[in-house]
């Protein structure tokens, strides 16, 4: 008899404050497991955002710093330049990264900072109560788009992976999801690969996780994961958008 799955030691015993079925818990675990497998837990520093994951520093069993809204890439830049041997991550939601922090993420990526960004895209502002985010799908309802997002009035959603992959600075960009166990496995592989690239000091790495928000979408957790598969992923296609390590291998 062998234990084949248990909670990683890279997470603390603090109970997660997230709503039932929130994918933040899954992604927290994947980041922690990836660092544990790379034996970098004691060497990691994560910059956490403003948003639902604002208290993520309580859950990770390694160093964390809570950043001003959207400024995690700027904070991480400073940390990485002072401690180039540390594993430096930012963990950001879509309101944080794609709205108020757009300038920071674009310039951190363009500069090719040797950090890893984990971007949780659930298409809505979770913590503040379901306002429209830059990633809200056309037609999707939010408290600030009562009849659904109309691109003529509210503008179009931003596909961050596609946008950043046009820059020269990033070396690895992948979009994953966590709506099925197979996708969770792929998401962990992507996060681990991004961290390995950071360890080699090759450049900026970025993993977007298409995620759910059952509470603000008004769906049960299981229905929310179905929504991710049926509506979110067609708009935000999964896959590798940039990988210079693969290009080098050719």
């Amino acid at each position: 008899m062998a234990v084949i799955f248990q909670k990683t030691k890279a997470l603390t015993d603090v109970k997660l404050h997230y709503c039932p079925g929130c994918a933040h818990g899954i992604v927290h675990r994947l980041v922690a497991e990836a660092l544990e497998e790379l034996d970098e837990v004691k060497n990691a520093i994560v910059a956490v955002p403003v948003g639902c994951s604002v208290f993520a520093n309580k859950y990770f069993n390694f160093d964390a710093i809570q950043c001003a809204h959207g400024r995690a890439p700027a904070t991480a830049t400073g940390i990485k330049r002072v401690h180039p041997d540390k594993m430096v991550l930012t963990y950001q939601g879509d309101g944080d990264l794609a709205s108020i922090g757009t300038a920071e993420i674009i310039h951190a990526a363009a500069r090719g900072e040797k950090i890893t960004t984990i971007f949780i895209n659930n298409g809505i502002y979770g913590m503040t109560g379901g306002q429209m985010a830059p990633t809200t799908l056309p037609g999707m309802k939010a408290t600030t788009a009562k009849n659904g997002r109309d691109p003529k009035i509210n503008g179009n959603p931003i596909r961050v992976c596609e946008m950043l992959s046009a820059l020269d600075g990033p070396v690895y960009i992948e979009r994953v999801s966590v709506s099925t166990p197979a996708q969770v496995t792929q998401a962990k592989r992507a996060i681990k690969k991004a961290l390995e690239i950071q360890r080699k000091g090759l450049g900026f790495t970025f993993v977007e996780v298409v995620s759910s928000c059952p509470t603000n979408w008004g769906l049960t957790p299981v229905k929310a994961m179905e929504f991710v598969r049926e509506k979110m992923i067609p708009y935000y296609p999964l896959g590798v958008y940039k990988d210079i390590t693969a290009e080098e291998g050719k």
Binding site: M1, A2, V3, I4, L16, P214, M225
Partner: protein, 71 residues
């Protein structure tokens, strides 16, 4: 087929049912009799058909599930 055993930490479970939805052998369901300290109906094991695939544990956002493989 490998045999497994799932253990659920009922104090952490928020009854989101993601584990129930992905189990290929329908080993889990939400309890109809228990309520935990958080106020949710926790998931519980209803049969011993577990094949140790760890799908439930991979989907659990609260790390409430431990899976053992029985030899």
């Amino acid at each position: 087929m490998a045999k497994g055993r799932v253990t659920i930490n009922e104090m952490l479970c928020k009854g989101c049912e993601l584990c129930v939805s992905v189990c290929p052998k329908h080993v889990l369901q939400l309890s109809t009799t228990k309520i935990n300290a958080l106020g949710y109906n926790p998931a519980e094991v209803v049969n011993d058909d577990c094949i140790a695939c760890t799908s439930c544990a991979k989907m659990c956002p609260d790390c409430a599930i431990t899976v053992e493989k029985l030899d």
